[in-house]
């Protein structure tokens, strides 16, 4: 039995080596936040639970892929009444659709050294393109991704009907994320 293990080790190395782009693992402390306006005031929130699988190499944008699953019930805007309201059917409807998903398979390099993921966000069963601009900072073995996106909540049906009044709840929501990644 021992001999088999030693035989398998070099085989495993050969299988793992020729990946088209690096698969990164997300370190604890990853942040996925948003900023919106309600009743004339800006408020901040974040999703405490989300899973991101990041495959990215600046030298191989064609092989890059982001896939992020966001647990909508983990929303925290430091206001329990507002968080409960966000879970309501009129907003995230997280009882029926507990997760949102962001998938990006097309990436472009921007003039300022950053990149843009031409991803699609699926929220409340609605899929809409949401471009995410991000910086990619390599630090030793690891990397830091800092990204920003702006989306229109109305396009996803978040707060429709009587809640669609932009004077009460702004339509534009700024999303920001910061991920520490290790190989």
């Amino acid at each position: 039995m021992m001999k088999f293990r030693y035989l398998l080790l070099p085989l495993a190395l050969i299988v793992c080596a020729p990946l088209p782009a690096a698969d990164w693992s997300v370190q604890p402390g990853a942040r996925l936040g948003f900023e919106a306006t309600a009743q004339g005031e800006t408020f901040h929130g974040e999703f405490k639970t989300f899973a991101a699988s990041i495959r990215f190499d600046p030298a191989d944008l064609d092989g890059a892929r982001f896939e992020v699953d966001i647990d909508l019930g983990s929303v925290d805007s430091r206001n329990s009444e507002r968080d409960e309201m966000l879970a309501d059917a009129a907003f995230f409807d997280s009882g029926r659709q507990p997760k949102a998903r962001y998938v990006a398979e097309r990436f472009v390099a921007l003039d300022d050294g950053r990149f843009r993921a031409e991803g699609v966000l699926t929220l409340r069963g609605v899929s809409q393109p949401v471009p995410l601009a991000f910086s990619w900072q390599v630090e030793g073995e690891g990397a830091t991704l800092k990204g920003e996106a702006t989306l229109d909540r109305i396009a996803f049906g978040v707060g429709g009907g009587e809640w669609s009044d932009a004077e009460v709840i702004g339509h534009q929501v700024r999303v920001s994320t910061e991920l520490s990644l290790t190989p």
Partner: protein, 188 residues
């Protein structure tokens, strides 16, 4: 009737503040009891905003009233009023003043610790008294709710005493606080 109070009559300003604050407190109580059970809706947001704006108004008026009370003279108690009634009156009025401040302040604190924005009749932004803080939030709500029951009890005593003076004692205690009424000098 002058703006300032005399030995026999409350002045215009005191009566205005008394009835203005009284009406606002009644409105606040009715709105406050009604709004909690409302389902999440735009109407609920607006009703809460109205309660908060009215409450802040009472806080400002209570401050004016307290400063004016320190400056203005006060009509005397009816000569026949026994000592224990004077003491009870002083105690009740003192607590009413405390609650005129404690109710809006605890509501404001509850709003701040809950991390809700605050605007006065949507005209200007009112700063938060604290950051988001769940423990402070529960404490502020407890003060606000207990304060409400204490206030309701005090108002009952206050109104009961006014009616007792008017209909049983038949003195000018209530009349001299009514809007526009001037009572003759009481023989002492």
């Amino acid at each position: 009737m002058p703006w300032r109070s005399t030995d026999d009559n409350w002045g215009h300003l005191t009566r205005l503040l008394h009835w203005g604050i009284a009406l606002a407190i009644i409105a606040l109580a009715v709105i406050g009891l009604y709004m909690e059970a409302m389902p999440n809706s735009m109407a609920k947001l607006k009703v809460y905003a109205l309660h908060k704006s009215l409450g802040l108004t009472v806080l400002a008026l209570a401050l004016v009233r307290l400063l004016w009370r320190l400056f203005d003279r006060r009509p005397a108690y009816p000569a026949a009023m026994p000592g224990w009634q004077r003491q009870l009156s002083g105690f009740t009025h003192g607590l009413l003043y405390v609650l005129m401040f404690a109710m809006p302040l605890s509501g404001w604190l509850y709003n701040s610790a809950s991390n809700f924005p605050l605007r006065w009749f949507n005209l200007f932004r009112v700063p938060a008294l604290s950051g988001p803080d769940p423990e402070l939030k529960s404490l502020a709500l407890l003060i606000h709710q207990a304060g409400f029951y204490l206030l309701a009890a005090l108002v009952a005593v206050h109104v009961g005493a006014a009616l007792y003076h008017h209909f049983v004692q038949r003195d000018a205690t209530l009349a001299r606080m009514l809007p526009g009424l001037s009572v003759p000098k009481e023989p002492r």
